[in-house]
Amino acid sequence: MKNNIEKFKENFSFFAIFFLVFLSILCFLYFFSHGLTVVFGDSKGHMNISRRVIDSPTPGLAQLGAYWLPLAHLLTLSLVWQKYLWISGIAGTWFNLIGYIFTTIYLYLLTKRITDSKICGIACSLVFALNPNILFLQSTPMTEMLFIATTVIGSYYFFEWSLSKKITKLIKAAFFIMLASLTRYEGWALAVFTTGYIFLELIFAKGREKTKREADLITFSAVAWFGIILWILWGWLLVGDPLDFMRNDLSAKSQTHLYYEDIKATGDGNMWLALTTNILAVYHTAGPVVAIFLIAGVLLHLLKEYKHLLEPSTYIWFLLMMPFVFDILTVFSGNVPVEVPELSRQPPPGSMFNVRYSLFVLPFVVVLLAINFRNKFLTLIVGAIIIVSYFFMIFPNPQNIAVLNEAGASGTPVGVKNTINWFVNSYDDGYVLASTGAMDGLMFDAKMPLKNYITEGAYKLWPPALKDPKKVVKWILLDEGNKRDAVNKHIDKRKLHHDFYVVYKSGTFTIWKIKAQ
């Protein structure tokens, strides 16, 4: 028996990784087999963006656009050329599975280091790994899991550097924070925080240490900010506006304004509401214990360290909280809405929107769990309570998890499915004019080659197609009820009626076909 325990200890890493791989694949297969991999409207957009690089009337890397950050799309590109891997979403999911495994491993390494206890490290990392919403997110072609992975790995090396001051740790931290900043805009907050942290260390340093911190600041910033600078240059090169990601029609702010029209999103301009909305989102995605522990843990840490509030070692732990803080600020500034049933003013009542962002705080909660209790037993107990609480999220109905519900709300309605079926069966040949803002989901679900569509990204063909459609396209997809439909917004309706006729209509949605010559 003792021998077996010894053997298990020796091979712990192997068993742990095997368990994680098994869990990751099992959950992916579960959601995949239930048709729940590509349910988010955004996930279809991500898949299409990558696919258009090779399957578009104007193929090339310019199809990555300048709004959504490119890392996930570039990774998707590795497999998206294969039609099944594109349509199934696998091309955009494989790296999330790997990201999930590595996030758990790095959270284990981090918390084991903090608590100096293997068992506490395991308990803390399981708080992340067993969260049902995380397990769902890692099974979808979205960017959140990749972002969490790059953030956690980057943060781990940053912590390591803060203790050892080894250059290799600093370079690794900078590299992964750069990857995070190329995955989601929340990553930019990480870059700001970490750079600020080294800057503060520089201010506090004396003598030769000052020179060392100055060198660290430059060495770190050069890499950590490289992706951000490249992205801004890319926008400038591609569309002539370095801040296009903030200003274009597909930007979060533009989309929010279109969606909310005259009313304000919950928390827009109200910091208290922005904060409570985000904490309630945590309640939905990670359970009440985590939400309460988040508030209590932050206060506890600050109380414990109140004498050292000005010292970098106190707030380095808040690094992993930055994405969450960023999201509170974006809600407050009206850039990105988050809706929870308790506070939502947007119909339908009780619906959730963007609550998945609250999962960014989970690694921070894991770290809080490790740093707040000197007593390892307490860490284990609280960790176990959180893990047990997860089971109530999935019982009795495994599909009753918050992010899945949110995804379902943005999924394809039955009416649209009928439209897609009609279109796929009726399409013969020729270009189709359609707006990605309104039709990306339809284009994905139709499973037709994307080179058939002329969209906003078909930079050479889009303007002439809008100006005189009959010269360029044979079909037009239009949704007059959708303000994100750029075709509806820009096309000359007089010409449209003159040269095309409606072949299909469903509500405000119409399909037009060119009149016979």
């Binding site: 090339g60 250059i167 290799t168 030769r208 020179t211 060392k212 060198a215 430059i218 060495t219 050069a222």
Partner: protein, 491 residues
């Protein structure tokens, strides 16, 4: 370049009295070496190389006449592939340098455990020419070496026509383990020829070369002896790391130091980790005399004889190892002086490249590793990129500044795959190379110099100008040794 290529060996008596040499084009050369004609850079190019390069030139010209656009596309694609390969290779080297830490390290404990009587005899070569000013500093540095004096020989190699330095050396009260060797006047008048002369006279079992302005780690000789023992028989050369004692003298010395930090802390160690050809660093190369004699010493006609020897020894199945011990040198603080030093180095790299490409098969004959490719990247690619860089930068700037006018024209030379590769090389390549300088400074504990890595693009530009001048010099004066002035830090 196309003149008479035959050489006539000197008469045996002449060899006995003056040293090994030959007559070429009526000119007598005494190079004090047994290297064969194909192993020395007497000729810039071999006959086959002349034919090959001429044919290539004619083909390119004809292609340009027949279809200039496609020809340029092919040339651009070739250059892009080279840049891309170089980008990946350097990334790999830096990664290896960090992940393997391949430098040989000799600990203080190992040094103290070595039995005092077992230290072998050691000869230090110091070739000097018009360097009386730094002689005092050198004698002081050598006197500080922690090595049994009865087993040490410091050999000052002075040129017959440099009476000032000879007089200065003779006027000094040199310790008894110093010897003065006056190298008889002959062609070519180069540092490697002086060292070949010294090699015949050296008594030491081990040999090291220091420049006149060097201040080596006092324990370096002992460390080298133990490093040889650790490295094994195949390692015939131990290269100590070089660094500068005057990095803060001015802006040039700061960037120069950053460059050295990169080269010795990251690139050479990376090359060592894959047992690749290492172009040696001119000074602080340690050898066993027997190995050096087996290798026939240095090529007196090569103005970077160190780089040549580093490649030659790999072709013969040996390796070089980098040792964790530093020799401090003088960073060139004068822009003109730096320029001519750099011109000589690049010219020497060209000589080395063409010399070793005369028989490229030798790279694979003795070793299974792909040294032919690493040689192309480390020596050939390094020089070629200096020639091409300005053109690529002008194209890039032209593309962005005059995009509306020149954009489509420039894009037409870059098919998609090549365009992406070129863009990657441009963006990541330039960034990474600049970043390597920063890491090199960090690793070398030159933290205060990290910020100067941002000036490196200007430095690269100056290197490219030096490369073109070096090309001119390679054609008109291939063996001329442009002597670097030392002791500028003392003024």
């Amino acid at each position: 370049m196309f003149g008479n290529r035959t050489i006539t060996p000197l008469a045996e008596e002449k060899i006995q009295s003056h040293g090994n040499g030959f007559i070429h084009n009526g000119q007598e050369y005494i190079h004090h070496s047994d290297l064969q004609e194909h192993q020395i850079a007497l000729h810039r190019l071999s006959e086959q190389q002349i034919v090959f390069l001429s044919a290539l030139f004619i083909i390119i010209c004809l292609s340009l006449i027949l279809n200039w656009h496609t020809t340029i596309v092919v040339l651009v694609a070739t250059i892009t592939l080279l840049y891309f390969a170089d980008l990946l290779f350097n990334l790999f080297l830096i990664y290896r340098s960090f992940s393997r830490a391949p430098e040989l390290v000799v600990t203080p404990q190992e040094l103290s455990e070595h039995v005092h009587d077992l230290w072998p005899t050691y000869t230090i070569f110091c070739p000097l020419y018009n360097e009386a000013a730094v002689l005092g500093q050198f004698v002081k540095a050598m006197s500080a070496m922690d090595y049994p004096h009865d087993r040490l020989e410091v050999m000052l190699l002075l040129e017959e026509d440099d009476q000032t330095t000879i007089d200065a050396a003779r006027a000094m009260k040199l310790p008894e383990y110093f010897t003065i060797q006056v190298v008889p006047q002959s062609s070519p008048k180069t540092k490697p020829k002086a060292m070949n002369y010294g090699l015949k006279k050296a008594k030491g079992e081990y040999i090291v070369i220091y420049d006149a302005e060097d201040i080596p780690d006092p324990l370096q000789l002992k460390k080298a002896v133990l490093a040889f023992a650790k490295a094994g028989e195949k390692t015939v050369c131990i290269q100590a790391k070089l660094n500068f004692y005057n990095p803060h003298q001015n802006l040039l010395t700061r960037v120069f130091t950053a460059e050295y930090s990169l080269w010795f802390e990251l690139v050479l160690t990376g090359l060592q980790s894959i047992h690749a050809p290492i172009p040696l660093g001119g000074t602080s190369n340690h050898f066993r005399k027997a190995d050096l004699k087996k290798l026939h010493g240095w090529d007196s006609f090569n103005v970077t004889e160190d780089a040549d020897l580093g490649i030659r020894l790999v072709k013969q199945g040996y390796t070089t190892a980098v040792m964790e011990s530093v020799t401090l040198e003088e960073a060139n603080s004068n822009a003109i002086n730096w320029f001519w030093q750099r011109t000589r180095w690049i010219k020497g790299y060209m000589q080395t490249y063409f010399l070793h490409m005369r028989r490229p098969g030798e790279f694979k004959n003795r070793l299974k590793r792909p040294h032919f490719l690493t040689f192309q990247l480390v020596v050939g690619g390094k020089v070629l990129s200096m020639f091409i860089n300005p053109t690529m930068w002008i194209i890039t700037i032209g593309y962005f500044v005059l995009r509306s006018i020149l954009g489509p024209f420039i894009e037409s030379f870059f098919p998609s795959a090549i365009f992406y590769m070129a863009a990657l090389s441009l963006v990541f390549g330039n960034f990474l190379y600049m970043y390597y300088y920063m890491i090199g400074c960090k690793k070398n504990e030159h933290d205060d110099l990290v910020k100067y890595a941002f000036l490196v693009p200007i430095y690269w530009l100056a290197m490219s100008v030096a490369a073109w001048v070096a090309f001119y010099k390679f054609v008109v004066a291939p063996h001329h040794w442009s002597k670097t002035k030392h002791g500028l830090h003392l003024k």
